[in-house]
């Protein structure tokens, strides 16, 4: 690990990223350009999030990584290992024990507290991108709060599908000012965006950082007659019985049998360890935890 500077990036780069983060926190929801560095992993594997994590990490931090809610996917494991090796930090799967959590596509079910930082990996930071391909124009739209187009997207959704069908990366308005892409989290997670922890968003390929300070007012865009709904599958988790968590749908056999379970693996595990059992779950033995 002595081959690397702490957390891989050199101190100057980290300072540059921290300046971008501070600016982002000062202007919630505003996309701050930053000079994204080559990381020893391809774009699309969270290079933006990794750079942000590296810039905020200290030797005392406890680091957790989730990928679509799970701690055990290849992507999550490799990012966790990366910081174990380059920063020597302690890592954890327990949401409550972590001080820095890097995430792709989810917000943990367990409410975060003001000692924690949530770092999102962002593929496309610009919520207006699919409607207005010109970067010059979208920047102008943000600067001038010219956001009619965002509702055009929702209008198109309703006219084509009878309801707002956007289920991920559902656009939000931050503190009554900037419209922001919350990254591809399910819209079920949108209400959690107003929280006690600091939230930082890093887009590596697109070289943008943006942020939400604690308790920032974040509102999901909608129409009066088609209000926003934080929907999820109408089931309980098959393993832990939770009815309040976001569920993944799994096909469990060749007959196409479906099973719903918590996408947040730590949440599910903790509930089972506490004695909750779902319809298809088995009680957890004391020594298994």
């Amino acid at each position: 690990m002595t081959d690397y500077n702490f957390a891989y990036l050199d101190e100057q780069t980290k300072r540059m990223i921290r300046r971008a983060i501070l600016k982002g926190l000062a202007i919630p929801g505003y996309q701050v350009p930053f000079a994204s560095r080559e990381m020893p992993m391809p774009y699309g594997w969270g290079t933006g999030g990794v750079q942000v994590s590296a810039a905020v990490m200290t030797a005392d931090d406890v680091f957790k990584v989730i990928d679509q809610g799970a701690d055990d996917t290849t992507n999550a494991v490799s990012i966790r290992r990366f910081f174990e090796r380059t920063a020597g930090v302690e890592t954890t799967e327990a949401t409550g024990d972590a001080t820095v959590i890097q995430t792709r596509h989810r917000i943990p079910e367990e409410p975060l507290n003001d000692d924690q930082i949530l770092v999102y990996q962002v593929p496309i930071p610009e919520p207006l991108r699919f409607l207005e391909p010109s970067e010059v124009e979208t920047r102008k739209m943000h600067a001038l709060e010219d956001y009619g187009l965002m509702h055009v997207k929702l209008y198109e959704d309703i006219s084509a599908h009878g309801a707002i069908s956007t289920a991920y990366a559902y656009p939000v308005e931050v503190e009554g000012r900037y419209v922001m892409d919350p990254s591809p989290i399910p819209k079920f997670d949108n209400p959690k965006l107003t929280m006690s922890a600091i939230q930082l968003f890093g887009a590596g390929r697109e070289q943008r950082i943006y942020a939400l300070p604690p308790y920032t007012r974040v509102v999901s865009l909608d129409f009066e007659d088609y209000p926003f709904e934080a929907s999820k599958a109408e089931h309980a988790c098959a393993l832990c019985g939770a009815t309040d968590s976001y569920l993944d749908e799994l096909i469990v056999d060749d007959a196409g049998t479906r099973m719903f379970m918590c996408s947040d693996t730590d949440y599910c595990q903790s509930r089972r360890a506490a004695g909750h059992v779902g319809a298809q779950g088995t009680p957890v033995k004391e020594d298994a935890a």
Binding site: L144, G148, V152, E156
Partner: protein, 256 residues
């Protein structure tokens, strides 16, 4: 009566080349002014300076705003200018693709300006879009189609609906009938004339086509090499042009 628009000494240069030079005129509420002149005479440059799409190099463009009366739109802030651009002003482009969102449905195109000024009720937006499609003679059942699936004339009518839905007071049009075939042009002109009368719109219409001017414009401005060489009531200018260039323009068209 106070003018709706008061233009004073407006000039725009492209490097050494003159775009338009020292243009001054007043436009009164409910008045339609035509701008004619040969290709390259500065018509589009002038129109774009008036509509805030191009920054002029000199001059003032005073507009009678609802809130604060006469304001110079050249020196007002960009957000204020944009707000005018989606409320009191409308701009109809020659090419519908410049004035429409080609990957958004007809209803979305018409609704955009409503949403841009704060409309948040889907049902209301949709019924206003249906109403406006009807007024420009587009069948209600085309509301979810994209403009690509429309003919050139329909696209142009959709562009007009999209622009007029917020009840603007001043409409800028750059060759609104250009590129359409003659019978389609005639129908569009008819429609425009009806809307202008019915809504009491003020408009500035750039065109090559003196027939358009005769049908729509109360007053006429003739441009050459970036300068206004003659202005007057449309019939006067067309029937008794004073400037040699206007005489040439009128006679060449009338011979066709």
């Amino acid at each position: 009566m106070t003018p709706l628009l008061q233009v004073d000494g407006l000039s725009k240069f492209y490097g050494q080349r003159i775009g338009c030079a020292d243009v001054s005129f007043d436009l009164y509420p409910g008045e339609v002014m035509g701008i004619v002149g040969e290709s390259g005479s500065g018509k589009s440059t002038l129109l774009n300076c008036l509509a805030g799409h191009l920054p002029p190099d000199a001059g003032r463009v005073m507009f009678d705003t609802r809130a604060e009366g006469m304001r110079d739109t050249v020196t007002m802030s960009e957000p204020e200018r944009r707000m005018l651009g989606r409320t009191d002003w409308a701009f109809v482009h020659q090419h519908a693709r410049d004035g429409l969102r080609m990957n958004v449905s007809a209803g979305g195109n018409v609704g955009e300006r409503l949403m841009a000024v704060g409309a948040r009720h889907y049902g209301d937006i949709r019924s206003q879009a249906i109403d406006w499609l009807g007024r420009v003679e587009i069948a209600e059942d085309r509301i979810d189609d994209r403009p690509r699936q429309f003919s050139g004339g329909m696209q142009q009518r959709l562009q007009i609906a999209r622009n007029l839905v917020t009840g603007p007071r001043l409409v800028f049009m750059d060759e609104p009938t250009g590129g359409l075939d003659v019978s389609v042009q005639a129908r569009l002109l008819d429609l425009l004339r009806g809307l202008v009368r019915e809504m009491g719109l003020s408009a500035i219409i750039v065109t090559h086509d003196l027939a358009v001017v005769r049908l729509l414009a109360d007053r006429l401005m003739v441009m050459k090499d970036g300068h206004v060489v003659e202005t007057g009531l449309t019939d006067q200018v067309l029937d008794d042009p004073q400037h040699a260039y206007s005489q040439l323009l009128v006679s060449s068209v009338l011979q066709v």
